[in-house]
């Protein structure tokens, strides 16, 4: 097992502080102010945009480049997972189904065929 060093522990404490500061950024101060109306309306589009921005590159890119072949397990997995979600119309445990169906397609293609 590797050695523990204090420099690394210090960095970890710093990273924890960054988590608190970024997640609380606009409500750390108790001063009162409010966002302009257009910004408040705009924020309703932020959650889905953030999720999409995080996942789309993970689904269609490899090492910073768009996938060039359709033989990629991720594409089939995403298609199957999304199809399940919309077939169930998002009811009940549709998100869980998306994960299970997606992985059921992903693992055989990825491990079996090497896609």
């Amino acid at each position: 097992m590797n050695q523990t060093d204090f420099w690394t522990l210090g960095v970890i404490v710093g990273l924890a502080a960054v988590t608190v500061i970024t997640r609380s950024f606009f409500f750390i101060s108790s001063k009162s102010w409010s966002l302009p109306h257009w910004a408040q309306r705009g924020l309703q589009y932020a959650p889905i945009a953030a999720l999409s921005a995080v996942i789309v590159p993970e689904m269609v890119m490899t090492q910073g480049h768009l996938v060039s072949s359709w033989q990629d397990a991720r594409l089939f997995s995403v298609a199957a997972g999304a199809a399940w979600f919309f077939w169930r119309r998002g009811a009940g445990q549709a998100v869980l189904g998306t994960i299970v169906i997606g992985m059921a397609v992903y693992l055989p293609l990825h491990l079996g065929l090497g896609w």
Binding site: T4, L15, V18, R23, Y45, S52, T98, I99, Y106, L111
Partner: protein, 243 residues
């Protein structure tokens, strides 16, 4: 602490716990791979355990791991993590209206626990900030409920990954389950035409701007998607589903 006990007994606390269960397996698979990645990068057991328990931010940890291994300057590591976390700054502007009734200590505590999925599920359930004390209680209870499930599944899996680091081959690609969990949650948010537009624009922009350092492509993508959706609100494309 009786205020806390009261929140934990609130029915909304259980709804929060339960709603988050649907994404827990994906979050757990992702946490597991993050645990493995920490040990594989050469961190000690104590370092890896403290990192997962204290930092509690997957993408920030994954960005910092190689920098720590390379002995990069502390300022560079912290600045990188800040940039990777910039999306939380956007979320905090949104959460502000919901949380300002709390004392600062509580706000920081709740903010710390509000990772991506807790934020998304919270704003999906509550479209309006609380108008009275009972709504304040209900919303806070729900937020703590989903945070409890997310924290437990993430930390449990991450600790398991730290222990099993040498027996889980990374080429299995189990981390992809985390992406599928986010995909499912994104699909559940696609309730209006403009939100679908927002997702499409953000996805395309994140790919196009991928070469930017510090994952800034995510922030650029959110900004582009929100701006375009706001512009389209005035057009027939909005499909009138909006208020």
């Amino acid at each position: 602490m009786s205020a806390l006990r009261q929140l934990l007994r609130h029915p909304e606390y259980r709804y929060g716990l339960r709603d988050a269960m649907s994404v827990a397996p994906g979050l757990a698979a992702w946490g597991l791979m993050t645990g493995v990645a920490m040990i594989k990068s050469g961190m000690s057991l104590v370092e890896a355990v403290s990192m997962t328990l204290l930092v509690y931010a997957g993408s920030s940890q994954l960005a910092a791991i190689p920098l720590i291994a390379a002995g990069a300057p502390v300022v560079v590591i912290l600045a990188t993590s800040f940039c990777v976390n910039l999306r939380f700054v956007v979320f905090s502007a949104h959460m502000r209206t919901y949380l300002m009734h709390l004392p600062r200590r509580w706000r920081l505590f709740v903010g710390y626990l509000t990772a991506d999925l807790s934020y998304v599920m919270f704003t999906r359930r509550y479209h309006q900030p609380p108008r009275n004390t009972s709504e304040q209680q209900a919303q806070l209870a729900y937020l703590l409920g989903s945070a409890t499930t997310n924290w437990t599944s993430w930390q449990g899996a991450s600790l398991l990954g730290i222990v099993l680091a040498h027996s889980v081959p990374p080429q299995w690609g189990l981390g992809f389950a985390g992406i599928l969990a986010l995909l499912g949650v994104a699909a559940s948010l696609a309730s209006t035409r403009l939100r679908v537009v927002s997702a499409g624009v953000a996805g395309a922009a994140a790919v196009a701007a991928f070469a930017l350092p510090f994952k800034l492509n995510i922030v650029v993508a959110i900004a582009a998607a929100v701006a375009l959706s706001l512009l389209l609100e005035q057009t027939p494309l909005s499909g009138r589903a909006q208020k």
